[in-house]
């Protein structure tokens, strides 16, 4: 079996640790290098798995045997790393949001096209089994035409500090948690978001010191008239039994599909933690997403979730902030 040699660029986003776990379990993958600017985060981890460690990502990109990279840097560095990787001839799987501006994302897409490499946006929610089954039910026409969505992607305030630094993250909860579900809505409707109107606020810091938005409500109207409401808030506190959720009601002319993607759980009450926890036992979306990426590259096929997909949903999140400023809906 041919193995795809993958390099990992930055572990600033903690999803990198989950992705590494999944990649290490895949028989058709060799993790050929970890490049991370913070050695305290990853140097030992790399050594433990006998993976070459690089303090400078350019050294990893210089390894011609590496065919693809997974980028989990701060959001603000996605463009730099993606473009450098493309120029080095590596296929790219980039953490969401793809970029922090439409032009920036377009240049990432163009760089990959020019270099003839694939660019995939990391939208693992596409690989949630209930989401896949919902898409199939929609395609069978089971609920008629879509009229409206109501969705939540509520989460916990990220424990990595750069998320609350706008110069590194580009935005708070409205950016971080709008893109996942926007992508699902784009996928489900097959239409494009036409306008967005959002609220953004900072409501969930018990100490009242936070400045980045951790609360919001995003309203979208699609070109085909479908409307959508999405709560992207980082509203879960440590007392809540799990980190967050992905829920969606799809209201159709002939029925309703309700997704509660992480509801496959056992309730766990441990003396040690002192609180109730929900332990998820459903399919592993990260592993399924990585398999899809690796399979596409190995088979020389286009990746299933593209840079354009990443741009399409990130643009809605970025325009959402503009609508907050404007106090009125803005065109996407």
């Amino acid at each position: 079996m041919r193995k795809l040699k993958i390099g990992m660029l930055s572990f600033a986003h903690s999803h990198a640790f989950d992705y590494l776990d999944s990649l290490l379990r895949m028989r058709n993958v060799e993790v050929a290098g970890i490049a991370d600017e913070a050695p305290e985060r990853t140097k030992e981890l790399a050594a433990r798995h006998s993976i070459p460690y690089y303090a400078d990502y350019r050294d990893l990109l210089a390894d011609a045997s590496v065919e693809a990279v997974v980028i989990c840097s701060e959001n603000v560095r996605h463009a730099e790393l993606t473009i450098a990787s493309a120029k080095a001839g590596k296929h790219v799987l980039c953490e969401k949001p793809l970029g922090l501006g439409a032009e920036e994302m377009e240049s990432m897409i163009a760089a990959c096209k020019e270099a003839g490499v694939e660019l995939m946006t990391a939208f693992p929610c596409r690989y949630l089994t209930p989401v896949v089954r919902a898409k199939e039910a929609l395609e069978r026409g089971e609920i008629g035409e879509i009229l409206s969505f109501k969705a939540t992607n509520r989460g916990s305030f990220p424990d990595v500090p750069w998320f609350s630094d706008k110069s590194l993250s580009g935005g708070g909860a409205v950016l971080d948690h709008t893109v996942h579900v926007m992508d699902l809505m784009n996928w489900f409707t097959g239409s494009n978001p036409a306008s967005v109107y959002a609220y953004a606020a900072t409501l969930f810091d018990p100490e009242g010191k936070r400045t980045i938005d951790d609360a919001g409500m995003v309203h979208v109207t699609f070109e085909n008239g479908v409307s959508a409401v999405l709560d992207p808030s980082w509203s879960r506190n440590p007392g809540f039994p799990t980190w967050g959720d992905v829920t969606m009601d799809i209201i159709g002319t002939k029925g309703v599909i309700s997704i509660d993607a992480f509801n496959q759980k056992n309730s766990v009450y441990s003396r040690k933690s002192g609180k109730g926890d929900w332990a998820f036992w459903g399919d592993d979306m990260n592993a399924l997403m990585l398999e899809a990426f690796v399979t596409a590259i190995l088979e020389g096929k286009p990746v299933p979730v593209t840079g354009e997909d990443g741009l399409r949903s990130a643009r809605v999140a970025l325009r959402a902030y503009d609508s907050v400023e404007a106090g009125s809906p803005v065109k996407v």
Partner: protein
């Protein structure tokens, strides 16, 4: 002991009559409906006189208060007629189909010295009463993110007048008004609303996000034509904590009966959330105690007027695609 009569012998009228009949502080003295069969059936069941004319009933039985459980477009004409006869009015929600009519109804009753109460029953649900306490406890000064949902089959399947927006006001005026009233009673002054409304032959679905002066974002959905059992749910998340509940999660008693042989279903199931005094009982008893004491009710007629204003604003937003400022109309 207050002598009470009930006008309208449909679903709600049956509930009012039944609760009054079981209330030590009330004496049910008559029921009335233009549909003679409905009036007779309820009158006979309750062992009270029945009528087909409200004026005739009020004069004959000496009622001190009357419940109006009639289609919405009849609320104002009937409450004026009762006020002219000096009878206190307990009117089902919504008070009227426009804020102008609602204000006129309040003025009319005040001038004639009769009390006017509006049956916004959600304030009397113990789970929502508890929620309001948690909102105060968790929200602090900054507010939080609130979700509320109310969904069920289309009431026009049973009572065709619901489908005529000129008579019922549609799902916003008839169903969402519950959560609008609850929000205005719980979160205080709202500044604006942004809403969508999707109406087909089978469906009336509305979703409205209210922004409050204290920062709270309240996202409210109301759904007629939902293909499933009636249900309600809420979640409030703020810096201090999260509180959530759903009707489907709070059933305390389920009666399951084997279906008769030959029927398609294997069993008949009736899940219930049982209380010694249900919310309707608590609401009606509260209104009667206010009549006796002259005290202010938990939910005032002015609140009911405000709820109508907010409902009008939500529909305006849905119609124009723009957020609608509530201005003076946002304050209690």
């Amino acid at each position: 002991m207050i002598k009470v009569a009930v006008v309208g012998c449909g679903g709600m009228g049956n509930i009012h009559a039944d609760r009054y009949a079981s209330m030590p502080e009330a004496s049910l003295v008559g029921v009335c409906d233009v549909n003679e069969a409905a009036a007779k059936a309820l009158g006979d069941a309750m062992g009270v006189l029945w009528f087909t004319s409200m004026a005739e009933m009020l004069k004959e039985v000496g009622a001190e208060a009357v419940s109006l459980a009639v289609p919405t477009y009849l609320h104002v004409p009937l409450l004026k007629e009762a006020a002219d006869l000096g009878v206190h009015v307990i009117c089902e929600k919504p008070i009227a189909l426009s804020s102008a009519e609602a204000a006129e109804a309040i003025r009319y009753c005040e001038e004639r010295g009769v009390r006017l109460f509006v049956g916004h029953v959600v304030r009397f649900f113990p789970n929502y009463e508890q929620l309001a306490g948690k909102v105060r406890e968790f929200g602090g000064e900054r507010g939080g993110v609130y979700h509320a949902k109310r969904a069920g089959s289309h009431p026009a399947l049973v009572q065709p007048w619901f489908k005529d927006a000129a008579k019922s006001g549609g799902v916003v005026f008839d169903l969402m008004i519950h959560d609008i009233d609850y929000a205005l009673g719980t979160f205080g002054e709202a500044t604006e609303v942004f809403a969508f409304n999707k109406v087909t032959d089978d469906i009336d679905y509305a979703t409205a996000t209210f922004r409050f002066k204290n920062g709270t974002i309240a996202q409210i959905e109301a759904f007629w034509g939902y293909p499933g059992p009636f249900y309600t749910s809420f979640e409030y998340a703020a810096a201090g904590g999260i509180v959530r509940g759903a009707s489907s999660d709070s059933e305390s008693l389920s009666v399951r009966v084997a279906a008769p042989p030959g029927s398609a279903a294997g069993f008949v199931e009736t899940p219930q959330s049982v209380l010694l005094q249900d919310p309707y009982y608590r609401e009606l008893a509260h209104f009667l105690s206010c009549i006796e004491s002259g005290g202010e009710p938990i939910v005032t007629a002015k609140d009911a007027l405000l709820a109508v204003r907010w409902a009008e604003a939500a529909l305006e937003s849905a119609r124009t695609g723009q957020p609608v400022k509530l201005g003076e109309g946002g304050a209690r």
